[in-house]
Subunit: 338 residues, 2 copies
């Protein structure tokens, strides 16, 4: 009869007490954020990803409400990136049942979210609990449980009206113009408490990587989230994309990204930007994309403080419009104060 | 720039190397096994549950092949019992989509297994991978990947023919008679390699708790599993049920359970039985069930060695036909040599 068995230790309490490493909170979306998460998963840190579950307006939004269709891939991608069995989880989420089973056309990931939404009472609450039942390292949280639609004011040529309003996250990049401002409807959504407390307890908060106007800024348009970001004692770093995105950030330098970010979040929320310095790689001319130049020109200084620019080789040589997961994650953790 | 970030530790390798506690392998099924797993989950140990995924023959078996319907609850119950978020996982598995979604009548747990089966190529292989994508402590493995049907020879009154053959796990308990022998079709299924290696690497192997003829013995009818059990250096303990089961073990003492087990597995596989000693509790007269008396009378001695009987208060006072999860798990771990 061993002492251990007589006085069994509570392993979960022990797990909770053990050092999980620095608490890193990442706000963003898209392939960029999932690349960062994939890299962080292999490092000693405690990961929380915060994504906007913004509605796509119109019929796809209605469809989502009724069937639990996921917003454009962000959540699925983040969860899959954090999964212990990553290729398998991705396969599972993308799996579609064959004909005859009455399940045609539904990706399993959507059925999964739909079931969680059914149990928890609504879609957003279902999403917020997903990482509790799946074998993932870390959590993926929505920034708000409210039903949100992302809208944008886009400058277009004068013969098309000069300026148009676009509704729906996936619609914005499809308009060929310059995004001037994005906003949420309703405009004052309530922040999700778990996301707020994650920010307030973080050692390091990173904004991005991800689409500037459709993934990163939408999180900051939730007032409680922005307030928590400003109040948090964590080091805060904006991770600029490696390449420009047509329809969103065409021709943008790092400074242009920072300016747009600052215009949407005001001063004091973040004043450090991590950018890729290896810009000699060639992108395909058909991609309508270019390497983002690591200059702060065009970026405003808030409260008298200039932005700090950290430049590192962060690029994936095989896919030079993307970050390299391992390079990015190790660089990010080196910026962490803890 | 910290040392940690410069030389990031591989957390998964570290997790693998860390002491996960004694390796406990449990073979069985039903509510009994899930009670044990629920108790072990809160202890410091590395859990593997091995269950028989035996087909129910006839139309329900066909249905299972086509739609991924789970065999009677065993797998779902084991996975839910090991889940970090246990009530939520159970709710998720039992969740059924409402009308109009084309998903009527399918419990989500079945859709989940069906999707895994679709990805992995067949039902059994899908089952074997389930615990990789869900947040569960430990693993649930099938004893064989072959398509199996459990059959029984049952003694019935002479006016009903004296002896009948019953096919299908869920049919056996429904026949009012004495189970004489159970067997598998096909009779020589191949053992699942991961289950075999779990047995060979175990510190402690427990048979049960669970239905004697329909949950525990079916695992031992897989020749590779029985051979691994015999060859394993682990301590091996049979956990006898707290109460008799009508149609399976009516009027059985602990010795009767041991005799039936020994008749199906031969000598040398196991020679220790853990039984409940608190038999003063009253079962409902309508349950057709009685407390199992902790006597070895009727049990054979194999190879000249008598069975060792360990008697402890293991019962759940609120549900006296069941084990108490915490009492059972701590007692089981005290029997572990490591």
């Amino acid at each position: 009869m061993s002492d251990r068995a007589q006085q069994p230790g509570p392993p979960f309490a022990a797990d909770d007490a053990q050092d999980r490493g620095p608490r890193v909170v990442a706000l963003g979306g898209g392939h960029g954020l999932s690349t960062l998460l994939r890299g962080l998963k292999d490092q000693h840190c405690d990961i929380t990803a915060i994504v906007t579950v913004a509605d796509d307006g119109g019929s796809s939004g209605v469809l989502r409400r009724e069937t639990g269709i996921l917003p454009p891939g962000d959540l699925r991608r983040c969860i899959a990136a954090l999964a212990d069995a990553e290729p398998l989880m991705t396969q599972l989420f993308e799996y579609r049942f064959g004909h005859g089973a009455g399940l045609d056309g539904h990706a399993f990931g959507n059925l999964f979210i739909a079931a969680m939404a059914g149990i928890m009472g609504d879609f957003e609450r279902g999403v917020s609990e997903v990482s509790r039942v799946l074998a993932v390292k870390g959590r993926v949280l929505p920034s708000s449980l409210d039903h949100l639609v992302l809208c944008a004011e886009v400058c277009v040529p004068d013969d098309q009206g000069g300026r148009i309003l676009v509704k729906g996250q996936s619609q914005i990049a499809g308009v060929h113009g310059l995004v001037e401002r994005v906003y949420l409807q309703p405009s004052e959504p309530k922040g999700y408490p778990l996301a707020i407390s994650a920010l307030l307890n973080a050692d390091l908060i990173v904004l991005g990587p991800g689409s500037l106007y459709t993934s990163i800024i939408p999180n900051l348009l939730v007032p409680d989230i922005l307030a928590a970001l400003c109040a948090a004692e964590a080091r805060k770093v904006y991770i600029c994309n490696v390449a420009t995105q047509p329809g969103e950030t065409a021709d943008y330098t790092v400074g242009d990204h920072v300016r747009a970010l600052a215009e949407h979040m005001g001063g004091g929320a973040c004043d450090c930007v991590l950018a890729n310095g290896n810009t000699d790689l060639t992108l395909s001319p058909t991609s309508n994309s270019a390497m983002v130049m690591p200059t702060l020109e065009g970026a405003p200084a808030f409260d008298g403080d200039a932005w700090q620019l950290v430049v590192q080789d962060l690029v994936d040589r095989a896919l030079p419009w993307r970050h390299d997961a391992a390079k990015l994650a190790s660089t990010v953790l080196r910026l962490c104060p803890r």
